[in-house]
Amino acid sequence: MIILFRNVVYLYLILIVNIYMCSYFLNKLSSRVELKRGFSASRAKGLGYPVLKLFRYLSKDDRLNIWEILIFFFSFFIWTIIPFSPTLIIIRFENDLVIAILFYMILLFLILMNASRSRYGFIFKNATKNILMIYNFFIPVIFCISGIVLINRTLTLKEIVGFQYQYWNIIYQPLGFIVMFASALLLMKLFNITKKSTLFLGQNIEKEGYGFGRLMVRISYYSTLFFIIVMIIILYLAGWQNLFFINGNIIFGIKFYIIFLILVLLDKATPQLNDYSYLLSINWKFLIPVAAVNFLLTIVFFILRNIYGII
């Protein structure tokens, strides 16, 4: 019981520290890319910025609704099954990859429900459109994950990491990695985490205020982004495997922040995508075909190796 409690505390500490760091780095990186200084109202290079933002959210009174409470619960609950390290798992399942995907879908569904309760037609229309599009972007991701499952022949995340002790999965599935990365980038663009979104936050704040509920929704956006990044690391970049003599947990953190940095830079380098038909065409004309080809190649490879024993 004590070990479980300790794990819960560790897990949420890691999450809170990461959300703090990502919020700080997003502000700094996105302004430094534009040769600006970023937030520096407080001393120590604007380290207090995320705290200030938190108080800005809490300063306004807002009635909590049931979806926001559920989002709050789920955005933390999703991390109980995804392992950051081999020991830091709270709920152990046999096929935790499937359950992780299921939880992710439920979280997205809750965000969808929360967005659709808005009184304003503009917010309702755009937010529901965005989240349905995020569901669309999950189709190629499922193709990629099934490819990985076929290669490693397991549905447990811990075992998938264990299989990569010699060669990382990115060597076997480079196309899958690219597709997964692209879908993570598009997810980041749709949630508009780097800048004040016109779709999710910008105009909503003026109409619907900050409040505690909006903070929860914001955390859930970070949670979904972290989910995709952690899945990329676990499935393709060997998770917490030691690299030479460096501890695996440190390596995990370094990989996380490198991917995060690349995502932020790519997000800055690409224009703001508000054209839904263009986004759909990216998905259906590039991501899904590439993911499907990758999956078919993996199936052919799987049949040749395991059924006919040729390779």
Binding site: R32, V33, L35, K36, R37, S40, L265, A269, T270
Partner: protein, 143 residues
């Protein structure tokens, strides 16, 4: 796609460059050359007197009518400059007065911080305009 890659590396390079904007009162900046601040009177280096003879060309050229000149009769019946007023609250720093002046008696300084407590202090007299010569160096702000 090529443009995205180019922008990506440009953004990455920007992370290691110095930011363009400055934290204003804390960080000192050098004002660009040729920028126009408060006008000042030039002095004759031999006699240390004002070169301006009060001809009034600058007053005619001023689009905002912020210059006021009073003349008196001096030695030998010549008209000499008595009083010269410049209303900074009206001045738009166009530099017409400097261009028009045939004696080069007026010059623009680099002083750009004009915050004052009262409106009266914006009305500069002859002596005030002589004092502005401290700000004729471009990097006066950094000293």
């Amino acid at each position: 796609m090529r443009r995205v890659i180019k922008d990506f590396f440009a953004g990455f390079g920007n992370l290691f460059r110095k930011p363009r904007n400055a934290v204003y009162p804390k960080e000192k900046i050098i004002i660009p050359e040729g920028s126009r601040g408060i006008p000042k009177f030039r002095l004759d280096l031999d006699s240390l007197e004002i070169i301006c003879n009060g001809c009034g060309d600058c007053r005619k050229a001023c689009p905002e009518n912020c210059i006021e000149i009073k003349k008196t009769a001096g030695e030998g019946g010549r008209e000499v400059l008595d009083e010269f007023y410049l209303d900074l609250s009206k001045c738009i720093f166009c530099g017409n007065c400097v261009e028009v002046c045939s004696l080069d008696a007026i010059e623009m300084t680099y002083r750009h911080q004009l915050a004052e407590t009262g409106k009266k202090s914006f009305r500069l007299e002859k002596l005030d305009l002589i004092k502005q010569s401290d700000y004729s160096l471009r990097d006066f702000w950094t000293k």
